[in-house]
Assembly symmetry: C2
Homo-oligomer: 283 residues x 2
């Protein structure tokens, strides 16, 4: 396994820092702490001078792993579905301007009023097909991120890595140079009994486009905003990373922690320091 | 599909009523409301005269669907594992005295201090093998209940119906008269992309030992104790029941709702009345 005390292999998803500072300040803090890459969010970028932000990131010596995240796809009407797809096209264009390796798709759950999760999933697959070509034109891979099944209703009807890979294959077939793949976040998939098999499948088809770490706390006060720092919970983070690296993953390992009550109350510098330590010791 | 306005097909899991009254009063209330069966919990039964409770249930005209629930299995030491298995043997003996169709196994999550979910699952499978014979001797089927993956850490390392069925087959093979099977609760499995296939598999092998209904609320304030009444959430309860009945399920349909903030604050009579209406209208 790669040694993550080499911070250049490690990326900071800006959500980890709580969205409390302007993106330029966040970029500088991440670069000062020695990390190799950053994953910004649309809320920090849209409506601003994207080319300028991109230059700043590059000048700071950082790569961009992923651009977070997609507008939710499933809709009750065709018109809304198409609007959602179009919003993602615009975001993918920005991802290209940022030089992001991938555009991270959190696909959305059931549209309000629907109980038809199969229909929602079909819409996601159709949207992936529509977006992958736009991504390729802008040099941005589309990373479907399966989210923990606890979010199936309201955030992601895509729950399993196997589902994401099925969609990739349905859309792109067995491409030697895939532009549709998966983002694997240990928080969402650690419990999956078929995890090793599906990570191997993703690796063999070159479809691991991102790898996120954090931890599952016991107890978890809030499944959205009480995620833990690596080592503070029950996930065998290193074991799962090993699966990905055996599968051939050589991209950055990215920390993404939503933590309103703990990490988001600390200074960026402190959180970044602990991230670095935990990358090295338990991730 | 069967018509659930026939309340005799419907069962009340006593958890739905909030554990606020002695079991005898709960039995009487359920019988008065016209339901056909009840599923009591060990906290209501253990340490009391089980034979007397059993007679009371029978005299009230109720069947017993399941007896809830198992002592958690996974442990850090062999001694604790064996103690857990033994506690379940005693509970299964009580289940037999109650005339329960099944003993419901909520298998437990990771032992405190462990990150090895594969080891926990192996222990569960071993325990199932040890308990199924005891169940048969007491006329009680062992129903493995997969719980939503949100509970994988602290309540159930058994998360998918496919996992439960894999365990059944590993322990019992393809028995024509299985004593190890699964309890399907829509709350835990509704999101599963392979749900139809796995319910068909469970039906074809005669391993649906129980079928529970409630609903997934959006938003869910608390994944343990904010479950919804059928019709108040996003689960296609009737669609999933149809899968089970196509698969040959002819047992009772059981409502189980943990709801500290809503249903547990209402009178038993009111909750039972609404259960009856929702069984008929949306389940």
């Amino acid at each position: 396994m790669r040694d993550l005390s080499n911070r250049n292999l490690c990326a900071i998803n800006t959500a980890t820092l709580g969205f409390r500072a302007p993106i330029d300040d966040v970029v500088d803090a991440v670069a000062r702490a020695g990390f190799g890459a950053i994953a910004p969010w649309r809320r920090e970028v849209e409506g601003q001078d994207v080319a300028k932000i991109s230059r700043h990131i590059r000048d700071a010596g950082l790569a961009v792993t992923g651009y977070c995240r997609s507008t939710y796809i499933p809709a009750l009407t065709r018109l809304t579905f198409e609007q959602n797809v179009q919003a993602n096209r615009l975001a993918i264009t920005d991802a290209g301007a940022l030089g992001a390796y991938s555009f991270v798709m959190v696909v959305g759950g059931l549209p309000t009023g629907s109980k038809d999760i199969a229909a929602a999933r079909a819409q996601v697959q159709e949207a992936a097909g529509l977006l992958v070509e736009h991504g390729r034109q802008h040099g941005v891979r589309i990373a479907l991120e399966p989210l923990h099944p606890v979010y199936a209703a309201d955030r992601s009807c895509l729950s399993l890595l196997s589902q994401a890979l099925d969609m990739c294959e349905a859309v792109e077939g067995s491409s030697a140079d895939p532009w549709l793949g998966a983002c694997i976040d240990v928080y969402h998939v650690w419990w999956d009994p078929d995890l090793a098999g599906q990570i191997a499948r993703a690796g063999a088809t070159r479809r691991i486009f991102g790898f996120h770490v954090c931890d599952w706390l016991v107890p978890t006060a809030d499944v959205l905003n009480d995620r833990g720092m690596m080592g503070d919970g029950v996930i065998d983070v290193r074991g799962i990373r090993n699966m990905a690296e055996i599968g051939g993953y050589r991209g950055a390992v990215e920390v993404e922690i939503f933590s309103t009550k703990n990490w988001w109350k600390r200074s960026m510098e402190e959180t970044l320091q602990v991230c670095a330590e935990r990358f090295a010791s338990v991730s």
